[in-house]
Symmetry: C2
Subunit: 321 residues, 2 copies
Amino acid sequence: MLNQILQPIQPQIGRFEERFKKTLESDVKLVQAMGDRIMETRGKILRPALSLLTAQAIGECSDRAIDAAIGIEIIHTATLIHDDVVDFADKRRGTEVLNLRWGNQAAVLMGDFLLARALQVLVGLDSMEVMRAATRAVGRMIEGEIQEIQGGVEAESAIYFSMIDKKTASLMALSCEVGAILGGGTPEQVAQMSTFGKEVGIAFQITDDLLDFTGDEESLGKPVGNDVRERKLTLPLIRALGNCQNGEAERIQAKVRSGIESDEELQEVFHFVERYKGIEEAREEAKTYATSGLKNLLVLTTSDARQALELAVRHVVDRDR
Amino acid sequence: MLNQILQPIQPQIGRFEERFKKTLESDVKLVQAMGDRIMETRGKILRPALSLLTAQAIGECSDRAIDAAIGIEIIHTATLIHDDVVDFADKRRGTEVLNLRWGNQAAVLMGDFLLARALQVLVGLDSMEVMRAATRAVGRMIEGEIQEIQGGVEAESAIYFSMIDKKTASLMALSCEVGAILGGGTPEQVAQMSTFGKEVGIAFQITDDLLDFTGDEESLGKPVGNDVRERKLTLPLIRALGNCQNGEAERIQAKVRSGIESDEELQEVFHFVERYKGIEEAREEAKTYATSGLKNLLVLTTSDARQALELAVRHVVDRDR
């Protein structure tokens, strides 16, 4: 994450990192080995940043808020590990995924282990409100993942939005919701920050799906065109298909459905999406969600933390990885 | 389960079955299809029986106790699904496993989905005590599973017992613990029923491991010799290896470690385990744990439910599947 975004919660981020590492420790060797690898390939810690900044902006970013952020980041890590098993991925963040190194079996169990550990961390907060929100969010995330793999989905944006709301936005909503609860927010603030997280999450996922078309392999740490190769219809393609009024749309959709077989075919899909304004429109929609999300911040008084949240939202839609 | 065991909680079992089915429902088609398959191939419902009988024996087997039993049975179901992915299993309970029919990907996510749903059911009980116990048990179960696959384990009974305590006994302990909590037990009763569940769980797993040597494929619903084929050293083999004072022990252990390649080799291991009293001793140990478990029931006043728990323990060590 940009230093500027983390600046108002610098001491808390330090404690977060230290305790996150401790939480992954285990005297089971295989768990420790996989945990070490996870520590070496950390991501953007966007969810913890949103959670801690929300707590800070609302009231106080306490040790309890840090523990909640750890629980949420571990849930995120667990789902990434299972995603990589499900997607037959090779690389994430420029590094070989866990299942390639230790096998799908170990990766499945490591994901389970992390999910259990995350829930144990959250239970430690002794708050049924947090547990209710967390278990609901985890359930919705997994439903979204299953919707994604069940296939046979029409090129309909309603289905796409319902899926990313569950798959991605629910955990971002949880991050902000829990931050607001532990920061001592009113029920109204908690609800609005949950909506904020949800809208930022949708903007985040649209941007992720855009980067699969427009990104650079090196900065992404994984190949582009993954979604198309995996026959996934994401927003840029859905919009381009909707904008194309001739038979080309059907041909392209059939090609993606039956499986792209060469780089030439991939390039053809890329050009189609560009030509029929799929990139342009999806980028606009990501911005619209980001803007809508930002409005929820008006329930908070002005502060460095609130400014950092605004910056985080802009970063979510402007990033190149 | 034997009707006699379920007799004192007959109405509750009816409601349990009805609500268990409802809890698996989903408007995501793939989830519903896998859920239907799970309903067709239900197991012995030993954990719910222990949980509901404990609640009844202690005080009252209420709707809350039924919900807890549903949560626990769903946790069990989720771990079986991930186990089948991890073990490359073909059959469970005489039927094709989920991952063969829908693929490992769907099975991984279905396990995740069920775990999330189980936790949502348990959250509904609004008891931090239950949530603490449940998340701890799930964490220990998965640690046990990982210990089991990490391999390189010596033929040591201490390692075996630590592993089955986590992998199997922790969920049985949870079943009885939660039953005691929701039945209105005193802290002493809750602790003793947790110990009861743990000891019954260890007896259960030893018996399971025995059945892999002595069972009948048709009543088991899966092939015998699975553990040996998967290079797992279970108690009967560990005891036989310990009893054999000549080089044969090393030879047999090396064979199992390097992978059994024929039915003849499997038969040779079977005869070795029988000849060196592996079956006999493991059976004795299962009985010792069962007897020790039964002593914990003395904290309860005599009742039909307590008698049924005693019967359940005897069934655990005497069953043929």
